[in-house]
């Protein structure tokens, strides 16, 4: 069957505004995604990011709380799994232990109905079962495809992990699904086997031309096999693109940190194609940011060159580890510890100069730099929010009881070791190293997230107190704050259009 260009480039799966909430927890948060026919798409993210939930909704095992899933332009959101032309390779294979390899593979075929090409009196197409010979032929062909030709009569429980994996794949693809879903299928295999299967899967995808949607938390696996990668965290898509695009141009600090080794720094855009960080101005390839806008930037370890005599940044080698084909060195320059990969080793303690070419720097929009909360003025110079009371400098003469918007920049929040030293208590839920400082996310007892930029290192799960100096709290009347936000949004939108 010839595939026309139009068919080749249309979307086989479209996910529109899909949200899934379990017991009040949002597992998948308003995801939009289109998968083209024949592509190998990987859903990549840390455990608990919602990737498996999203896969289960495509398979039909879970129903979205809201949103629609389209398969070949048809809404299949509420179609039960056994009526979807989609098959799944499960995490632990889920082979049927009571029947042999052959019968496992034939299971789906026995249930399959194919068009006879005829129609009944009402004009509905007539379906028929596959004949025994047809089933036999298909099973034998797929067994050959997965290199298990002589294993048909074997008990599935007696097979090795890799062989069980192949049976699971054979069982799914023999049904000729429109889309094959794979839920961390290589997770239970040892490293060597995993590498082999990665290549085999990629080759199989090329040969059979079925659309693959693959779930993994292994970024290397994703980069090796996929046509496109969907990076997810906290139930939301962070970036969707080719492996190269995601590696070279991560959309934000999370993606940069998750994919590959990276140096993530905070900088300021001085003008188009010029960024300042570590007290030095660097040429870069990005434009379209505001003047003096604070940005995140990523520099890959292999994009930093080292010289003994001259360079943009002067630093000292802190450590060096041989990684097989290169040395991975930690170099301290301007208070930032750079990870650098180079084939030439520099001795620990040696003074070196680092330079970074314009194409080695990728600028990312800073997501947010200021915490915003709704609060109430509780007395002449205190404001209550997040379950605590904080002193502030009341410039505007706000009255007691006024509903206000409170803003605190990330770097003005102080964390204390002892919860009692802070105005409110919180737990550290995430820390991200940004070069010269850490961005720490804490979760208050009042169920709100605080972001804190700090030079101190905090561990996940640490119990901390939060303090804020009166000078660092900006308080505006809530109505006024909303007006300002609305204005800012319109200007931003028009800037994007330009």
């Amino acid at each position: 069957m010839a595939i026309t260009a139009r068919e080749k480039f249309d979307n086989i799966i479209e996910i529109k505004n899909v949200t899934k909430i379990f017991d009040g927890i949002t597992a998948v948060d308003n995801v939009n995604l289109a998968v083209r026919r024949g592509e190998f798409v990987t859903l990549l993210g840390p455990s608990g990011c919602g990737k498996t939930t999203l896969l289960r909704m495509i398979a039909g095992f879970a129903m979205p709380t809201s949103g629609t899933i389209m398969l070949e332009k048809q809404d299949v959101t509420t179609v039960p799994p056994h009526l979807r032309p989609i098959n799944t390779v499960f995490q632990k294979y889920a082979l049927f232990p009571h029947i042999n390899v052959y019968k496992n593979i034939a299971y789906g075929l026995k249930l399959k109905r194919v068009l006879t090409g005829e129609v009944d009196k009402k004009g509905n197409p007539i379906y028929r079962k596959l004949s025994k010979d047809e089933i036999d032929e298909k099973v034998k062909r797929v067994l050959k495809l997965v290199n298990l030709e002589s294993y048909g009569h074997r008990d599935v429980t007696g097979l090795s992990g890799g062989q069980q994996q192949r049976v699971a794949i054979a069982r799914a693809i023999v049904c000729e699904p429109k889309v094959l879903l794979l839920d961390e299928p290589l997770g239970a295999l040892d490293l060597k086997m995993r590498k082999e299967m990665q290549l085999e899967l990629a080759a199989m995808h090329k040969n059979i031309g079925i659309t693959f949607i693959y779930v993994t938390h292994d970024q290397e696996e994703a980069l090796t096999m996929s046509d496109k990668i969907v990076v997810m965290t906290d139930g939301a898509v962070q970036q969707y693109g080719t492996p190269k695009k995601i590696y070279d141009e991560p959309a934000n600090a999370f993606v940069a940190d998750f994919i590959g080794e990276s140096n993530i720094l905070s900088g300021v855009m001085k003008s188009d194609f010029l960024v300042e960080f570590c007290g030095t101005k660097f040429k870069c390839m990005d434009k379209g940011f505001g003047k003096d806008e604070r940005v995140d930037l990523v520099v890959r370890p292999e994009d930093i060159s080292i010289d003994g005599k001259k360079g943009a940044l002067k630093g000292e080698v802190v450590s060096s580890v041989f990684k097989g084909t290169y040395y991975e060195m930690e170099i301290l320059a301007e208070d930032y510890q750079f990870t650098v990969q180079n084939t030439v080793e520099r001795a620990v303690g040696e003074t070196v100069f680092l330079s970074i070419g314009p194409d080695g720097i990728h600028i990312m929009k800073k997501l947010k730099t200021v915490n915003e909360f709704d609060g109430v003025v509780s007395s002449e110079n205190t404001v209550a929010f997040c379950g605590g009371e904080f002193e502030f400098v009341n410039f505007d003469g706000l009255e007691k009881g006024a509903e206000v918007r409170v803003k605190i920049p990330f770097d003005k929040v102080e964390l204390t070791d002892d919860e009692k030293d802070g105005a409110i208590g919180a737990n550290v839920t995430q820390t991200l190293y940004k070069g010269s400082y850490y961005q720490v996310q804490v979760y208050t007892d009042d169920d709100t997230d605080f972001f804190v930029d700090t030079v101190d290192e905090w561990d996940m799960g640490d119990r901390v107190g939060i303090n804020i100096k009166p000078d660092d709290i900006t308080v505006t009347l809530r109505e006024r704050a909303d007006e300002i936000a609305a204005e800012e949004n319109t200007t931003e939108d028009s800037a994007d259009e330009r």
Partner: protein
């Protein structure tokens, strides 16, 4: 404590247990092969008591009733218990606890209370005592044991197995019967055997609701009450004991074989 002393204590405990539990039974079996009327008198080897037993129409009817009742009740309990186990296994949190608790009531409850409760219940719903009431009651008191033997099989299953069936095009019903049920069969068989033996020797509950249907335990009780220790009862007890023992040994051999097979795999 010295190791030798420890093993000594353990072994004497085991020996005492065996003596007190099995000596009476062994004595009974030995003396079932003599035809003296009084227990403890050996008047030479004879199978007279067994001949009497198998010629006793009342005993044979009771035995037939007991076997039919045990079979039907164990069948029903296996079906109900398996369905209940699958349902309870997939419940969450408090629902699961509640369902488990309710399912276990007849097992944890004093049998005499269960018996009286059934009697009153059948009286209220005007169901005459007899086969129907016996089957209902025996099914209900054996269901928890089936649930208990099926549940562990369920928790050992790959959590995606049922979904794999759906995924390959099986309807929910079909996936349940062609994928999940085959995995549960060993648990169902041991549940069935347990239910069968429990029904076979139930006396307390049966006594309240048997109507005019006689079962072996009821026949035994009535015979003792009426005629005192009838010597044929020795033969009957011996037959019952050996039969149940044979079933239990067979069960253990089968499960040991299965375990061995799994180890090889």
């Amino acid at each position: 404590m010295n190791k030798n002393v420890k093993t000594g204590v353990v072994w004497s405990f085991v020996a005492l247990m065996l003596v007190f539990m099995y000596l009476p039974i062994i004595i009974l079996i030995v003396f079932s092969f003599t035809d003296a009327r009084a227990l403890g008198v050996w008047s030479g080897f004879s199978v007279e008591l067994y001949v009497d037993l198998f010629n006793n129409a009342q005993v044979m009817t009771a035995l037939g009733n007991s076997l039919i009742l045990a079979f039907v009740a164990a069948m029903l309990a296996t079906l109900l218990g398996t369905a209940a186990a699958v349902g309870i296994f997939h419940m969450r949190k408090w629902k699961k606890h509640t369902a488990n608790f309710v399912a276990n009531i007849t097992m944890e409850n004093a049998e005499i209370v269960t018996g009286v409760a059934f009697m009153i219940f059948f009286l209220v719903v005007r169901l005459p005592n007899g086969w129907i009431t016996l089957i209902i009651a025996h099914t209900m008191i054996t269901v928890p044991y089936v649930i208990l033997s099926v549940m562990p099989r369920l928790s050992q299953l790959n959590p995606n197995l049922y979904e794999a069936g759906l995924d390959l095009g099986a309807s929910p019903m079909r996936s349940m019967f062609t994928v999940i049920v085959p995995q549960l069969i060993p648990g169902m068989i041991s549940g069935f055997i347990m239910a069968f033996t429990l029904s076979l020797d139930d006396f307390i509950v049966s006594k309240f609701i048997n109507g005019n249907v006689s079962t072996i335990p009821i026949y035994l009780y009535n015979a003792l009450a009426k005629k005192g220790v009838d010597p044929t009862l020795r033969a009957l007890s011996a037959v019952l004991f050996v039969a149940v023992l044979a079933v239990l040994i067979a069960m253990n051999i089968v499960s040991a074989k299965r375990r061995k097979k799994q180890l090889v795999l």
